[in-house]
Symmetry: C2
Subunit: 244 residues, 2 copies
Amino acid sequence: MKKLIDNVSVDCIIFGFDNNELKVMLTRRDCHDPVTKKLIFSDYTLQGHHIYYGESLEEAAKRVLKDKTGLENIFLEQFKAFGSLDRLGSDRDKLWRKHVFPHVSDHVITVGYLSLVDSNKVKPDAEHPDTSWFSINDLPLLAFDHELVLQKALRTLRSIFRRKPIGFELLPEKFTLHQMQTLYEVVLGVKLDKRNFRKKVTQMKYLIPINDKQKNVNHKPAQYYIFSWDVYKKTKKRKYNFVT
Amino acid sequence: MKKLIDNVSVDCIIFGFDNNELKVMLTRRDCHDPVTKKLIFSDYTLQGHHIYYGESLEEAAKRVLKDKTGLENIFLEQFKAFGSLDRLGSDRDKLWRKHVFPHVSDHVITVGYLSLVDSNKVKPDAEHPDTSWFSINDLPLLAFDHELVLQKALRTLRSIFRRKPIGFELLPEKFTLHQMQTLYEVVLGVKLDKRNFRKKVTQMKYLIPINDKQKNVNHKPAQYYIFSWDVYKKTKKRKYNFVT
DNA sequence: ACAATATAGTGTCAATGAAACACTAAGTGT
DNA sequence: ACACTTAGTGTTTCATTGACACTATATTGT
């Protein structure tokens, strides 16, 4: 059996887009008194795990991702290593280590990976009943330094969103320009002008209208588009901000 | 005595600017046969060290920096954690581990920090005779995965250079606009138009001309400028590319 | 004193990209 | 047929970028 490395973990910040909100996948951490079985506290953690000897950081992140979402080959990018001394040091964390996980090291470096999934593809998982989506705008209490990690992931996400066309990783395969605009507004926290937005994106060769429209909507049906990485790679220009 | 964590190290990529070249500080690694004392090979490493139990990543990076340059409070930014399995796996690295460092783990995650120093302030150090500056354009053979680490540091440096006024960290306190332009040209690998450059930078309130000029130069003496972080923080605009 | 040399320092115009803004089109439901 | 709802479309103004050439001021050598 493979052995875990005590001092190194990865944390995956799994983002999804649903119901016009940016969401993140969290797992409840219940701390029970081992004797009385009473619940001492509850909070939430990001999706993390220690790495194994002989396992790279990226492999570990992919393992966690596969385990929690069932998905492979999804967008994954390392954004920061966290190595403060106080990152596992809150009162709750101390109680948790004492009661639930007495053998864990108190000096763990974690490497944060942010990943983007099409939330439609993530099925509710019976194996992980404590894991679910939370809106970025309505977060519960988080364990360890995960509030810090999540905020850094968010800033990184926004920064990448401006420079690369990664929004599509959060959208279904076919989508309308309205969906796309909403996504960019929600993630970047700005209001975009419809005409300017459409003018800009319809110049992008890698946004391809397909022969398919919305159906059964009580308004003019919107054109569906798909995104092509191939075309993007071939046509991208130097110096391009995806959305201003 | 503090104990080192086997599986985690930091590497500082220390950049300097001298003689119109971007330089990086490297240390020679000589691998001798322990029996015959013959030199098996020589190559160069970045400035790294394992972290101690009870020491944060950033503290470790600052320790390495202090040790190698004598400087504190200099620009330091984490840019990536490296955790591939083959990062210590070249033939040279295996020989080195076998002959010189038999007890080191073969699974070490390293966290890369890039730092910028005014190379005038770094005195040649008798304690580290094997450590010296190398031009980015004329690098020797590097140990481990340090070629990869250095290239990533360089890309990060360029990216930060475009968004934040960190060039000054590499310049002396007072400098001419010509020096500054050359620095930006060298780091970004572009040719800049003198008039456009000066037009742009003289709009920056945080670039302050001082009552001092070049002396004893056989041409019109250039105005000296200083940079003010304070003014920058107060006057910076949203959405600003330092140099296009 | 003067010329040669070397770098410092300065302004305009054209092209491109960003931001502001209001109406018609095509479906569904009653 | 009419009300309702979201889709889809162009023009103008303003700011930013990029191209481009000459004068100013110091030193050095004659």
